[in-house]
Amino acid sequence: MKNELIIRRLELARDYMNLLDEAGYQLIDMNMVEPFHIEDKRHHSSTIIFEKNEQLFSIRSDWTRSLLNYNENYYLSHRFFGYFGPVVRNYKTFYQAGVELYRPSEHEVLKSIDMHLSFAAGQSDGEFQSIIVNDDKLLDLYIDKYQLDSDIRHLVYEKNISEIRKRLGETHPLYQLMAAKVSDQINLINGEFGDGEIMSFINHLNEYLTKYHMKFIVDLSFRSPQSYYNGFYFQVFLDHDHPLLSGGEYNSNAFGIALNLSDGGLL
């Protein structure tokens, strides 16, 4: 990697840490070697595990998971945490920066997403292109309302439009949703579940981010590669193929946001 890229990454991390400090986040730094938990392996198959002195340890592969384990083992006086540092996945090192919010209100989540977008806008010449969001519970609403078999989930997750058409027919609302352009899905979902709590949050977020002039996309097929996200999940793209920001809800009452300091377009 060229010198200027290494320096640029460190400058971004420093500016980001300063921003979090000013916003009242508790900054943390943790040991890269952690006690090994078998459930972590299920979430991150790429985690490196090793044995020393007849004990199993792992090398940090995901900050959110590390903080969650820490949070479950100790009483914490703060609810909002910020971090920057390396993680190792399949022998390769990546740099993660981000925040974790425990028991946040809707307003606190919206404010944190806005803070991240504002930071990224100030660091980049490019314009935000799109934000893509989903909440796994939206598909549950369709399954309940239309009494669908639960194996329809897999077809929606892989966006298997032809098989959904074969199973449900062309006039079924779920087929029509999945065959629609992804940027049109929000209107169709609002038509069905616009009054509910899930779409209420998504619509508030859409309004909150209007000032960034980016395409707002809801897609039921859009899911996190990290299986611990079990509710709302989002990614933001600059004019670039990899997400600049990603994050979402996990453990029912926690919310994480990660800033891409590798290939999201800031370097």
Binding site: S130, S162, E163, I217, P243
Partner: protein, 200 residues
């Protein structure tokens, strides 16, 4: 601009036939040109030509936004892609085949070993599987295996080698697949192409 990875060989010929039948003339002429190289640019669509197993790799990495590939490739290995649609061509199937007088099947030769393994595991049959890269029909003729798991299109190759189908495992067809990121970031171009080739 979007990039579409096409599978070379029989599937490409089937795709050309499909375009002829559906008068998709904009793409047809350039794709069938004699001086076609490893890729062809037609308006806002760049077609690249790759071996079947490489098509999902190009799509997964984002080098290609869309791909047209046989479902055999997708069934053999997992790929982190959107498996958008079955296409109305490229039909064939996987079968277990062997010599007509074979009594017991304990050793299977296959190029697609994961599909063979899953099939016999599902049937609770304990078999040994030998990986071959091609000409799988030779294995039972030369005594390397008791039977084979392979793709059958018309059955002509099996008949020519004196083999018979014991059982059909699964249907195969062409599929359109998409990259999980650019499906959103290049939405307009991708949906235009999906409409043009009749997926939606």
């Amino acid at each position: 601009m979007i990039t579409v990875a096409l599978t070379k060989g029989r599937l490409f010929e089937d795709f050309i036939k499909y375009m002829e039948e559906n008068s998709l003339n904009d793409y047809l002429q350039a794709l069938t040109a004699e001086n076609r190289s490893l890729y062809t640019l037609i308006d806002n669509v760049k077609f690249i030509f790759a071996k079947g197993p490489d098509v999902p790799t190009y799509v997964e990495s984002g080098v290609a936004d869309l791909g047209i590939v046989g479902s055999d490739i997708l069934a053999e290995d997992p790929f982190n892609i959107l498996n958008v649609s079955q296409l109305p061509f490229g039909e064939c199937h996987f079968s277990v085949a062997g010599l007509p007088d074979q009594e017991e099947v304990e050793t299977i030769a296959a190029k697609y070993t994961n599909i063979a393994f899953e099939h016999f595991k599902h049937q609770k049959k304990d078999v040994s599987i030998i990986h071959l890269n091609g000409s799988v029909e030779l294995a039972p003729l030369l005594g390397l295996s008791d039977a084979i798991v392979d793709i059958v299109q018309t059955g002509g190759t099996l008949r020519d080698n004196g083999l018979v189908e014991y059982e059909k495992i699964m249907d195969i067809h062409a599929r359109l697949i998409a990259n999980k990121r650019t499906f959103y970031t290049k939405e307009d171009e991708i949906y235009k192409f999906l409409r043009e080739i009749g997926v939606i």
